[in-house]
Point group: C2
Chain length 160, copies 2
């Protein structure tokens, strides 16, 4: 691995929870649809290449590693680039509605899954460092923590 692979900007520190009860007046918060699909998934080492359309913007993301911290590299795609690759994700896709909730200086992202996965609601929180990650106290409306649980990974949800 090269030196700049360990740079903080390429690392995600996050925790994931099921959601017991949706907060009120959710529709007043920033929200947008997300469609994502996987071009390739390596089970060993958990490498993945994901395509995502978030509102009107498209991206390609490379991820590797597991658990609370992993390497991530993302590029924006033009609509044309996205359209050329998207058909290759058939059978490995999911759709969700994402709501963004500012919370104690952090951002909670609520994902309401759609289609086959309708009924599943997950909250994700990303942290600027390990300390704020450990110290995080989940709001009362959060349910069980599922950080690192394979069955709630988007790769699994998209392919099973």
């Amino acid at each position: 691995m090269q030196k700049n692979d360990r740079a903080p900007r390429n690392r995600e520190i996050e925790r994931k929870f099921l959601v017991k009860q949706l907060p009120e007046r959710l529709n007043r918060l920033r929200h947008y649809p997300i469609a994502q699909g996987y071009l390739a998934i390596e089970s060993a080492g958990r490498r993945q290449v994901r395509l995502r359309k978030k509102g009107n913007s498209a991206s390609l993301t490379f991820k590797v590693g597991r658990g609370g911290a992993r390497e991530e590299r993302e590029i924006k795609l033009s609509s044309k680039q996205f359209a050329a690759l998207w058909p290759a994700t058939a059978g490995r896709r999911l759709r969700k509605l994402r709501y963004e909730i500012p919370w104690n200086g952090l951002l909670i992202e609520i994902d309401i899954y759609q289609g086959n996965l309708s009924g599943l609601v997950v909250a994700e929180v990303e942290f600027p460092d390990q300390v704020s990650c450990w110290r995080f106290e989940p709001p009362l409306w959060f349910g069980r923590e599922v950080t690192g649980e394979k069955r709630y990974s988007n790769v699994r949800l998209a392919t099973e």
Copy 2:
């Protein structure tokens, strides 16, 4: 799989041979360096996502399937997009010099591998259809046919 996944433009029909002897005056032909690396490789189904720099132009290619015909989708990348993803291919790269030889209305591509793979020379011919593929008679300076042989796939060459 979607209907447009079977469209001819996404299919490659090609044969691959070792090269016994390089043609003369090779440097008078069009040639350029290629650097390529793999973001992800799925062994089952042979899915792969490849980054490539060919001369000054960069691309990302998705491939799936095996043998003489497989699905392929490619997009051009800007230098910035390429630079953001390239570090993720560390340890899964190869370099080669490619020469293009027009031959009986077809194009022979000769790849002279570099670095660890120095000494390996391979010729590839792509065909517009299956009939021209079957009918192809290799020139005398071609060696053994290695179409479909895993050990000569670029994925294997880049990772072993």
